[in-house]
């Protein structure tokens, strides 16, 4: 179908023509290469090249010094990651734990919100619009607000907690609660994304199963468990994987609020790798961690592609 259009001649003239016309004809014939060329070059320069450079750098030992060039050490960095570095191992499991915590809570809340907002009610448009603001708001600013809200003695969170009758927490200020407090910020920010994806899924559900369920006398809760959830499953899986890909890469809120602390309690791979690269300038080692993180995120993405084909 696409080929048919490219065969439409620019003009019917067969007489000998000047160089200008010939150039513009050739530009027309090669349009399919010219249109995407700037994007292809840009992508090659700012995306593909850095990725390969990181792969190459991960086989070197280099401390970003112009006096000593990178030293090739083959897979020593990877060996270190896999067996020799407990700090990386901790960060690895912490990253997975953080992602699991945040995404599972977001999924339950997000699907619940979607079911709630799927009903027709006065003010639904406004409620939906307001509820997506957290994921668009600047993460640094949001992190800053949570820093103030989480303050152990002056923050509003401990006041709210005391209203419910609980003892105060130290939130991001204690190594025991920091990761949970950060996951809570992530939940606040990103539950709306699951809600939006689930809402799109709900809008596409067929009506018939509900009608027959109603005739059979099923309650609202029953039809939710036995009709809505199974039908929505593919959508929910897509939502979970989109969120997981991003949660694995969470950087802004952790870096602004705790920088991985207190005493490394919230140091995820992303934070550790940033520290290795830009505080210790251990470029080779940091690069190998970047490749590892890439592999983890890619694993999650491949599942996403399998579950639901994106594009063609």
């Amino acid at each position: 179908m696409a080929n048919r259009t490219s065969e439409v001649p620019l003009s019917a003239a067969e007489t000998p023509v000047g160089i200008g016309v010939r150039l513009s004809r050739s530009a027309h014939r090669n349009a399919r290469f010219i249109f995407p060329a700037p994007a292809a070059i840009t992508v090659a320069l700012i995306i593909v090249y850095p990725v390969f450079y990181t792969g190459w750098m991960s086989l070197q030992e280099w401390f970003a010094s112009s006096l000593t060039p990178p030293k090739f050490i083959a897979f020593a960095n990877y060996q270190n990651i896999l067996t020799g570095d407990p700090r990386f191992r901790d960060a690895f499991f912490r990253t997975l734990y953080f992602t699991f915590l945040a995404v599972s809570v977001e999924t339950v809340l997000g699907v619940g919100m979607a079911v709630l907002f799927n009903r027709e009610f006065w003010g639904r448009g406004l409620a939906r619009t307001l509820s997506i603001l957290p994921m668009m708001a600047t993460p640094t600013a949001i992190a800053l607000v949570f820093v103030m809200m989480y303050h152990p003695t002056l923050g509003v969170m401990n006041y709210l907690v005391s209203l419910v009758g609980l003892a105060p927490f130290k939130w991001t200020y204690s190594s025991q609660t920091a990761l949970y407090a950060l996951a809570l910020v992530d939940v606040w920010e990103w539950t709306p994304l699951i809600m939006l994806i689930a809402l799109a899924g709900l809008a596409a559900l067929p009506k018939e199963p509900y009608e027959s369920a109603l005739i059979d006398g099923a309650s609202g809760l029953q039809s939710f468990w036995h009709i809505t959830l199974p039908l929505l499953r593919p959508t929910i899986i897509v939502a979970i994987l989109f969120r997981s890909i991003d949660a694995l890469k969470t950087f802004d809120i952790i870096f602004v609020m705790t920088q991985g602390g207190p005493s490394n309690a919230s140091e995820t791979i992303n934070i550790l790798l940033f520290t290795q690269a830009f505080s210790y300038f251990s470029m080779g080692y940091a690069s190998s961690m970047a490749v590892a993180l890439f592999a983890i995120v890619m694993g999650a993405s491949l599942i996403l592609m399998k579950v639901r084909r994106v594009g063609w």
Binding site: A39, Y53, L130, T153, A277, V310
Partner: protein, 278 residues
């Protein structure tokens, strides 16, 4: 006799439903409410305990301090230059590419662009840092605009593919048969038809550049520091002087909120790369 309790039940159910909606919305709204009210409270009340929720003295001292103590106008300008720059460049590069992918089904290029969304941003940062340091381009607008393209360009391309695909083929072919070249068909037929999409993607790309922290924290310097980095640095200086901190947070967030309200319909499509239509 039966109808009255029934009407009452409906009333209770509706009231219960709205109560639930409000409870669900409360955490979202509260954080924004708290940010704005903190920015308007004098220091004693901002850091007072128990916190005052509704009754407080309104002051603009926090905002005054932000502009007096820091070159905040420069930070706003820097953020604007980088966000507008990377969006305009992204459109110039991304629109023809999206048209071409939609038109000639160039799936390979689309997949590479999608990969950019999946690859952790930090894996670009090390090579860029080394490259820009060698070129002496750290702390330049060019370096920031180029790197912010990594966030904006994939969104522009993926969202716009959908818009270009929605153009009826007859319309596109008619222009070609009438003697238009592909360039004419693109500029005079396709682009005007996808204007709403261009507005939405421009705003998305602008917001993501405006919000970007990771790339700017390394590649921006004293002259090009963008708002998120400036605010991050303020945390250390101000400690619990919360008025200016909250004021700065409010100033960054406000434009984003306004823009989000404009394009809210397109946000899911943008964030999920067209996998989910909003």
């Amino acid at each position: 006799m039966v109808s009255q309790p029934k009407a009452l039940t409906t009333l209770f159910k509706t009231a219960g439903f709205y109560a639930l909606v409000i409870i669900v919305m409360l955490p979202t709204l509260f954080v924004f409410y708290w940010m704005i009210t903190l920015s308007l409270k004098p220091q004693i009340e901002a850091a007072g305990y128990p916190p005052s929720f509704f009754r407080f003295t309104v002051t603009f001292k926090g905002y005054q301090e932000v502009f007096a103590k820091y070159p905040f106008v420069l930070y706003i300008w820097n953020s604007l230059v980088v966000a507008v720059g990377s969006t305009v460049l992204g459109l110039a590069i991304g629109l023809p590419a999206a048209y071409s992918i939609a038109h000639w089904r160039q799936g390979g290029l689309a997949l590479v662009v999608l990969a950019a969304r999946i690859i952790p941003g930090i894996s670009y940062l090390i090579p860029w840092y080394i490259l820009f340091r060698n070129l002496r381009m750290v702390d330049t607008y060019q370096a920031l605009i180029l790197t912010h393209l990594v966030v904006g360009l994939p969104i522009i391309i993926w969202v716009m593919i959908g818009f270009f695909e929605d153009i009826p083929p007859e319309l596109r072919d008619a222009a070609l048969i009438d003697g238009c070249s592909y360039y004419g068909a693109f500029l005079r037929v396709a682009v005007p038809l996808v204007k709403p999409g261009i507005v939405a993607t421009s705003i998305l790309s602008f917001i993501f550049s405006w919000n970007n922290f990771l790339f700017s924290v390394i590649l921006a310097g004293r002259n090009t520091r963008t708002l998120p980095i400036a605010v991050f640095n303020m945390i250390g200086y101000e400690e619990i002087n919360w008025g200016p901190l909250a004021a700065a947070a409010t100033l960054i967030t406000l434009p984003v909120i306004l823009l989000t309200l404009i394009i809210q319909r397109h946000i899911v499509t943008g964030l999920t790369f067209g996998a989910v239509k909003g």
